[in-house]
Symmetry: C2
Subunit: 166 residues, 2 copies
DNA sequence: AATTGATATGTTATATTGTAACAAATTAAC
DNA sequence: GTTAATTTGTTACAATATAACATATCAATT
């Protein structure tokens, strides 16, 4: 049995990378902050695919480019990218993904596929509105919201279904 | 300025502890699994209050009772207690809390107060229903759901409001 | 161009969180 | 009582993250 570890073939990933980098560059100019080469390299490495990436994997991957890189190098870049909203931390994986929606910067739903490791970010406005209402009911002042769902994505469950004989 | 780190005075915490231990004991009998003394002690230590507790803090706290305790001692007990649904892992804190709702065992909303460190578990049925619908829309098969909100709880924001002069 | 202040990076060391692997002990079932 | 399964002890280490301080870079002003 083969297992899908890819996104649908309709997905042209270079579009994702280009859009993210262009947008980040533009926003940094607007905000008067510096997208230094280390920060840009880390952002590009995170955007290698739609998997969540671990800090120490980033460290290994950046070493050919930045031979002096140490853990702090990566964590500082990650802190910057998170502060700017360019990436998300996936709490349940201790890992990081690129943010797919830099314009609205809503906090969103993360669908984490255990099979292919892709993480999909969804708007889920209905869920978010219900959540905001519930937080009001609780008189809770939210600073950050993380909704992380672990399971099997559509693509993987279809692949499994069609490849396992009855 | 004083800062509240307590629950409202209406809260009688020994009720929480007793209920949790009684229920856990009963469920272990029903399920034919062993609530050994280590496991029970860890569960009690988690229920010391409504804060999320870190594994290594539990290790320090259990040492007077179990002098041979090592990290694995704690992590095994935590694994057991999670498998039985007696505790939750708080992903965004790398910490653990007692589950307040052993009967229904719904996955719930965690409200994490940065001020007093208490973690409140809420049913939030509307949110959960919206979430289930959204997951159906996405054709995502969920195995676990974590909704973790960081912020300031009702009690702390009231305390702050009344104690900071205008 | 030199000075300054702010920001970013280099570097070392260490803290924190979590697991693997195998031996020994305990418990439950026969 | 013997056996099989489960639990615990123990050692070692892997993986994740931060503290602290030195150095370098950059941009704005003298």
């Amino acid at each position: 049995m083969s297992i899908s570890t890819e996104l649908p073939s309709t997905h042209n990933h270079s579009n994702c990378i280009n859009a993210a980098l262009t947008m980040a560059t533009q926003l940094c100019v607007e905000r008067g902050v510096q997208l230094t080469s280390i920060r840009q390299q880390v952002l590009e490495l995170i955007w290698t695919n739609h998997h969540a990436v671990k800090a120490y994997d980033l460290l290994e991957r950046i070493k050919p480019l930045q031979s002096a890189a140490k853990p702090a190098t990566i964590y500082r870049a990650l802190d910057f990218l998170m502060a700017q909203g360019f990436i998300h931390r996936v709490e349940s994986l201790n890992a990081f993904i690129g943010c797919c929606d830099l314009k609205t910067a809503h906090e969103q739903l993360l669908l984490i596929c255990k099979q292919c490791k892709n993480v999909e970010e969804r708007h889920a406005d209905v869920v978010m509105q219900a959540l905001v209402q519930e937080l009001q009911n609780a008189n809770f002042i939210a600073h950050s919201k993380a909704i992380e769902i672990q399971g099997i994505c559509e693509n993987c469950s279809q692949t499994l279904n069609t490849e396992i004989p009855a």
